[in-house]
Point group: C2
Chain length 218, copies 2
DNA sequence: ATAAATTTAAAACGCTTGTTTGAATTTATG
DNA sequence: CATAAATTCAAACAAGCGTTTTAAATTTAT
């Protein structure tokens, strides 16, 4: 409480760093506290001491990213031109600020978000959406402004699908490396993946009208 | 070995059905054999008796879907018109045949595929890609034929991103229901999601050229 | 320098995991 | 009907889990 200096924060931070890495790689439930503390070279009990519980640790890991990412994104959006490409760029630029934590942080962040949506951790998504309700709304409105050809519901779905493409791409990055290397001899890293994603997402949101359903009941 | 009739297969099938459901809902690692056998109302040891191990059970669950889905997809592709919309429709039609197993099977199947890519279960993806190498190639070539505006690498990426959109959408369907209901008062089911996905995927693959990167290094 | 507060450390807690075992039971065959 | 094979069952296994406890060590404040 009183002495908030280096030595104290170190253990806490070490835990966060390695928890982040392992959560993204293996998921929340498949990563044990012992795995985290062993890699972080800290005592097992210090997790419960510093964070209370595993659940709280999970939220803390995500908070660490969001606290960096969200303000940065808002800042970039404020300075951005009022067109789609610039807006999409803001998003990827803001992702890149996470690299100050460590390399691959952008990937890990997206994977965590994805796991927050899909793993039976509904509380995580609700936590994000309530903690950053205002920012999320601001972001959505910004996209809404630069996509006048889409109504709000259409935009919502396209953003969701784009998020899926991003999350899945980052989640399967190791698989993609394997495939790509055997198919084209080209190795792949996070930057390569983002380079592929940016134009895809731009195109996905830019498309004016979508082909109508051609079948009766789906 | 000898009596391959109803009673014998029943336990095996009961396990498969409930394992499928729980794996899709919670992931492989987060689902215990005890959870499966309790829901299936069979003895715990029968999993190892019939399938050998949990790992083999996971493969068996996916095999069950693939054995239905793949031939159906190939069949539909053979009969389809040589254009993109028809090809995409084949995919969703083939998904729909899984509903003969039980409702929501299409969703569970896609979620399982997604988990096979992202969960540290690389063996699952390799299993799919080696067991269905010929079919996968055939499918890719069919898409390649109806998207002459895309080279093979571009097509690979777009298909991957579309798969991500699908997988993520199905994985987050419960979250989507929650959001959608509070935002538009509209409830959502798998069919609704597919209706949203079809035009998105059509548009994603149809787009001729993609916007070029506007920044230096990503 | 001493007392208080904080942080580490090791051990144990009860619980759940996948898997194995050996006997009981059901099923199929001669 | 008896015999053999196939299946089910309850019980136990070792190993791993999150968490708690107890005590020692270290840092901070008086």
């Amino acid at each position: 409480m009183i002495g908030e200096h280096l030595a104290k924060l170190d253990t806490k931070t070490k835990i966060l760093i390695h928890a982040e890495k392992l959560f993204a790689k293996q998921g929340f439930n498949s990563t044990s506290l012992r795995e985290i503390t062993t890699e972080a070279e800290v005592n097992l009990a210090s997790v419960n001491y510093h964070f209370g519980s595993k659940k709280t640790l999970i939220q803390a890991v995500l908070s660490r990213y969001l606290a960096l990412f969200m303000p940065q994104l808002i800042k970039e959006l404020d300075q951005a031109e009022n067109n789609l490409a610039s807006t999409v760029n803001c998003f990827f630029n803001a992702l890149r600020i996470l690299d100050t934590i460590n390399s691959d942080s952008a990937k890990n962040f997206l994977m965590l978000v994805g796991r927050g949506y899909s793993e039976s951790q509904g509380h995580l998504r609700r936590y994000i959406q309530s903690s950053y309700a205002q920012e999320l709304n601001q972001i959505f409105e910004h996209f809404n402004r630069v996509t006048p050809h889409l109504n709000k519901e259409a935009l919502f779905w396209r953003l969701h699908f784009c998020l899926g493409a991003m999350v899945f791409t980052m989640s399967s990055s190791s698989a993609l490396s394997e495939i790509s290397e055997s198919d084209w001899g080209a190795s792949i890293n996070v930057n390569h993946l983002m380079q592929k994603l940016v134009p895809f997402i731009n195109a996905s949101l830019a498309t004016q009208t979508q082909i109508n359903l051609t079948q009766g009941e789906v």
